[in-house]
């Protein structure tokens, strides 16, 4: 089965991650695709509200505590054909501090869900849990808004992802002393990722190459939400370019979702935005970006732009 795990994440709250996740799910389901939405916002789940559903059982917490035998058993039908939802847990204190083995079990079961599309709606921030969910998905979509606070947190989120990818590879290759060096250089001295790689290439080229390749495998996508003019739309392109140069990651700019007052109005009515506003500019934007990712292999096969190792 051609399966895709989408993750919607980002550094700042209120950028519209859940809105994008819900709309994407509704759009894919409207194309007769089988979709399971997972509310993986462990701290503040509310994806069910965006779909017009009430909180209740079964939920993600039931799976984690063993009350539900499998993750699939925690999925509930929604009023929309083809779309199922795994609600976030109401037992927030328990679930937000997810132990490592439970996280691995959850990640494994997410991959095994019998559906074409799994969409993970992630929480705000850069906790290891959130980062691991984001990194395990392909595509991982970062949602930002055209505000300095959101952009600052977007870079922080991406930087945290990068550090996590590098740490996973360092653990795999048993080069843990390098991890301490990375923490010293990047976190304490605020040296750039580029600077870290440059010094690494000078001291240990083979490990530098391995880690650089690992980093190039991390290819997040960017969505600018709540854009009001063309400057906001172009800002996304600039961010992707800056991330490529300063964070050395190949980020794809998927596009912008225009600000729409009806999103807020739909939320107040407790009804999902997408089905009732299919001709609105925001819904068109969602459609366009999901189609680009869902139907083309261009995303996975695309050629990375030219950027070479620092000292080649």
């Amino acid at each position: 089965m051609d399966k895709r795990v989408w993750a919607i994440g980002g550094g700042k709250g209120g950028t519209g991650k859940s809105f994008v996740a819900a709309s994407l799910g509704l759009h894919l389901a409207s194309l007769d695709r089988d979709v399971i939405l997972v509310d993986a916002d462990l701290g503040a789940p509310n994806l069910h509200t965006l779909l017009g559903l009430k909180a209740g059982h079964p939920d993600l917490g039931d799976f984690l505590t063993g009350a539900a035998p499998s993750l699939e058993a925690a999925a509930v039908e929604t009023p929309f054909r083809g779309l199922r939802l795994i609600r976030g847990s109401e037992n927030i204190l328990f679930i937000a501090n997810l132990p490592h083995f439970r996280k691995l079990r959850l990640l494994r079961q997410i991959r095994q869900l019998p559906t074409q599309n799994v969409i993970l709606d992630l929480g705000t921030g850069s906790s290891f849990n959130t980062l691991d969910f984001f990194l395990s998905a392909n595509p991982g979509i970062v949602v930002a808004t055209p505000e300095p606070t959101a952009i600052e947190n977007t870079y922080l989120f991406l930087k945290s992802c990068i550090m996590r990818v590098l740490k996973l590879y360092m653990d795999h290759y048993k080069i843990r002393d390098l991890h301490q060096k990375m923490l010293d250089q990047i976190e304490k001295n605020s040296q750039s990722i580029y600077g870290f790689f440059k010094s690494l290439m000078e001291t240990d080229r083979s490990y530098g190459t391995i880690l650089y390749r690992a980093l190039r495998g991390f290819r997040p996508c960017l969505v600018m939400n709540k854009t009001r003019d063309e400057h906001d739309v172009l800002l996304g392109r600039s961010i992707a370019d800056v991330a490529r140069k300063y964070l050395l990651i190949d980020m794809k700019y998927l596009g912008a979702i225009p600000y729409d007052e009806d999103v807020h109005a739909a939320l107040r009515r407790l009804s999902p935005y997408y089905p009732g506003h299919r001709d609105a500019a925001a819904a068109r934007a969602i459609r366009q970006m999901s189609e680009e990712l869902a139907y083309s292999i261009e995303f996975t096969l695309r050629t990375p732009p030219e950027i070479r190792l620092p000292d080649v």
């Binding site: 505000e147 990818v165 495998g217 490529r244 050629t303 990375p304």
Partner: protein, 122 residues
């Protein structure tokens, strides 16, 4: 902080391929100007003011060179001498199951390996 901005070549600065047309260079220049203009939000929290000015200066330099065919040819030759140009190759995540190092050599099956031992041109 990025230390060595001079490591970026003109094409990287404008985010265009080395085979870019004049129009593509113009578009890349405009996009770069928008990214590195004074007060640009795209740099917020990541790039310092001094660094922004430095990059902006180099973007102007890059555009002045690449817009002129003769200067561009000389620059390309100098660039090729410094480092050969390989057109980018496809590299991708092969699965969602686990992180894989891209460009890993294709996995050879055991049977193919055994066959290789006995057959000259399998």
């Amino acid at each position: 902080m990025l230390k060595k901005i001079e490591d970026w070549n003109y094409y990287e600065l404008l985010s265009v391929e080395r085979t870019a047309s004049r129009d593509e260079i113009w578009e890349g220049y405009q996009a770069a100007l928008a990214t590195y203009r004074d007060g640009s939000m795209a740099l917020y929290g990541l790039v310092s003011e001094a660094e922004r000015e430095l990059v902006l200066g180099r973007i102007q330099e890059a555009f002045q060179t690449l817009r002129d065919p003769e200067k561009r040819r000389d620059y390309d030759l100098a660039l090729l001498r410094h480092a050969p140009y390989f057109p980018p190759q496809a590299a991708f995540r092969k699965s969602i199951d686990r992180l894989e190092i891209e460009e890993a050599p294709p996995r050879i099956s055991l049977w193919a390996r055994i066959k290789r031992l006995f057959v000259k041109n399998p």
